[in-house]
C-alpha cells in the first residue's frame, strides 16, 4: 500500500483532469472556442514524453558507468513509452490543428521538431535491433542515446523559439508562463500534467519488470 500511493494518485489526477477538462468552465476565445480544452490532453503528452526521454538519458549514463543490464532495460523501456507519448502528442495536436489552424500538418516549427525528435528515437530502436550481443548493444545504444539527447533539447526548446510559430507562448515557457494561461485553466492543467507523467512512469516500470521476467525465463531455459 505504501508503495502504490503514487499510482492511486496518478489515476485520481488523470480521471479528475478528464472529467474537469470536459465539464469545467473555460474562457471563450475566438477561433479556439471549446477546443481550448485540448490543452489538458495534448500538452501533458509532451511533458510526459520529455520526462520519459530524460529518464532514459539518465539511465543510459548510469549504464555506461555500471554496465548493469537493468539500467539498459530501464533506458529502452522509458524510450519506448516516450515514443508512444510523443505519437499521442502529435495525433492530439494534429486533430486540434485541423480545427483551429485549418490543416492537420501546418508546417509549424514545433510540429516539425517533434516529428524529427521521434525519428531520432526510432533510429535508436533500429540501432538496438541491429546489434545482437547484449553488453555491446547496451553500450553502443547508450552512446547514441546520450549523443542525441542534447541535440533533441536544441531541437525542441531552442529552434522553435527562433522562428515564428503558430503555437502559443513562444519565447517563454509555454504553459508555465503566468501571463499566457487563463487562470481558470490552471487548476485542471497542472494536475493533468502531473497525472500523465505519473501514468507514463507507471507504464514504463511495468514494462521494465516484464522485460526482467522475460530475461530470467531465457536464462532458465
Amino acid at each position: 500500500m505504501n508503495k502504490s500511493w503514487w499510482k492511486i494518485l496518478a489515476i485520481v489526477l488523470v480521471l479528475f483532469s478528464i472529467v474537469a477538462g470536459f465539464l469545467f468552465q473555460v474562457p471563450a476565445k475566438p477561433i479556439l472556442n471549446e477546443t481550448i480544452r485540448n490543452i489538458h490532453f495534448h500538452v501533458p503528452m509532451w511533458f510526459s514524453m520529455i520526462v520519459m526521454l530524460t529518464v532514459s538519458f539518465i539511465y543510459s549514463i548510469r549504464f555506461l558507468n555500471s554496465s548493469n543490464e537493468n539500467d539498459d532495460l530501464m533506458a529502452v523501456e522509458f524510450t519506448n513509452v516516450g515514443i508512444v507519448f510523443g505519437v499521442l502528442g502529435l495525433v492530439t495536436g494534429a486533430v486540434w490543428a485541423k480545427f483551429t489552424w485549418g490543416e492537420a500538418w501546418s508546417n509549424d516549427p514545433k510540429q516539425n521538431s517533434a516529428a524529427i525528435a521521434l525519428l531520432v528515437y526510432l533510429a535508436y530502436l533500429v540501432l538496438r535491433n541491429s546489434l545482437d550481443e547484449e553488453q555491446k548493444r547496451g553500450r553502443i545504444s547508450a552512446v547514441y542515446n546520450i549523443f542525441a539527447f542534447p541535440i533533441m533539447v536544441v531541437l525542441l526548446f531552442i529552434l522553435p523559439r527562433m522562428t515564428d510559430s503558430l503555437h502559443p507562448g513562444n519565447g517563454g515557457n509555454p504553459g508555465f508562463n503566468t501571463k499566457d494561461m487563463a487562470p481558470e485553466l490552471r487548476p485542471v492543467f497542472y494536475p493533468a500534467v502531473f497525472g500523465w507523467i505519473l501514468i507514463s512512469t507507471w507504464i514504463a516500470t511495468i514494462r521494465y519488470r516484464i522485460r526482467k521476467i522475460e530475461n530470467k525465463q531465457h536464462e532458465n531455459n
Binding site: 533510429a123 540501432l127 553502443i140 542525441a148 536544441v154 529552434l159 527562433m162
Partner: protein, 220 residues
C-alpha cells in the same frame, strides 16, 4: 606523448593513408561532381533561390554522409586495436574530427565551385555564403564522425549510418539553410548572428559529447 602531439601524428597518418590509396578521395570528389551533373541534367536551370539553396545542401548532405561513413570502417579491426594500445581515445576522435573537417572543406569547395558553374544564380553576399558553407562543413564533420563510429560497431554500418545521422543533422541543416539563404539574399550580416551562434553552440556540444562518449565506444 601529450595529446597535442598524438593528434598531430594521427592526422598525418590519416592524410598519408588517404594519399596513398587515392581511390577514396577521388571517389568522393567524383561522387559530388556527378551528383551535381545529374541534378543539372534533371533541372536544367533553377530560377527560384530557395530551391537552388536547398538543392545545394541536399547534395552536400549526401556527399558528406558518403565521405565520412568510411572513417571508421576503412581500417581493419586489428589495426584499430593497435591504435587503442598506443594512444588515448580522445586523440583518436579529435584527429578523426579534424581530418574530416579538412576533407569536408575540400569537398564543399569543389561542390560549390562546380554547382555555381552549372547553375548560375546570383549570390548576394558571396563571402558570407562561403562562411555558411564553411560552418556547414564543420558541423557535418563533427556530427557524422561520432555517428560513423557508432554505426561501424553494428553489422550493417552503411545502411545504419543514414538512419542514425539524418534525424540528428536536421536541426543543423535547418539553421544552415536559413543562414545561407540570408547570405544569398544579401541581407545585412547582423541578421544572421543568431544562426551563427546556434551553429557554433551545437558544434561545441557535439564535440564535447563526442569526447566524453568515445572512450565507451571504442572498447571492444
Amino acid at each position: 606523448m601529450d595529446l597535442f602531439n598524438q593528434v598531430k601524428i594521427l592526422i598525418r597518418k590519416e592524410m598519408m593513408l588517404e594519399w596513398r590509396s587515392k581511390y577514396a578521395l577521388n571517389g568522393i570528389l567524383l561522387y559530388v561532381v556527378s551528383t551535381v551533373f545529374v541534378c543539372y541534367l534533371a533541372f536544367r536551370d533553377i530560377s527560384s533561390a530557395p530551391t537552388w539553396n536547398a538543392l545545394f545542401w541536399i547534395i552536400m548532405l549526401f556527399a558528406s554522409v558518403n565521405a565520412i561513413t568510411k572513417s571508421f570502417i576503412q581500417e581493419s579491426r586489428a589495426r584499430q586495436l593497435y591504435y587503442y594500445t598506443i594512444t588515448s581515445p580522445q586523440a583518436i576522435i579529435i584527429s578523426k574530427i579534424i581530418y574530416n573537417i579538412m576533407l569536408m572543406l575540400l569537398l564543399s569547395v569543389v561542390a560549390l565551385g562546380f554547382y555555381t558553374l552549372v547553375f548560375k544564380n546570383p549570390l548576394g553576399d558571396p563571402l558570407f555564403y562561403m562562411l555558411s558553407v564553411l560552418l556547414g562543413s564543420i558541423s557535418f564533420a563533427s556530427v557524422f564522425t561520432m555517428i560513423s563510429g557508432i554505426a561501424s560497431k553494428a553489422s550493417n554500418g552503411g545502411g545504419l549510418m543514414a538512419i542514425l545521422s539524418f534525424p540528428v543533422i536536421i536541426p543543423l541543416l535547418v539553421v544552415l539553410i536559413k543562414l545561407s539563404k540570408n547570405a544569398m539574399d544579401g541581407l545585412d550580416r547582423s541578421v544572421s548572428y543568431d544562426e551563427i551562434g546556434v551553429l557554433l553552440a551545437i558544434n561545441v556540444i557535439v564535440v564535447t559529447t563526442s569526447l566524453l562518449l568515445f572512450p565507451y565506444l571504442w572498447r571492444d
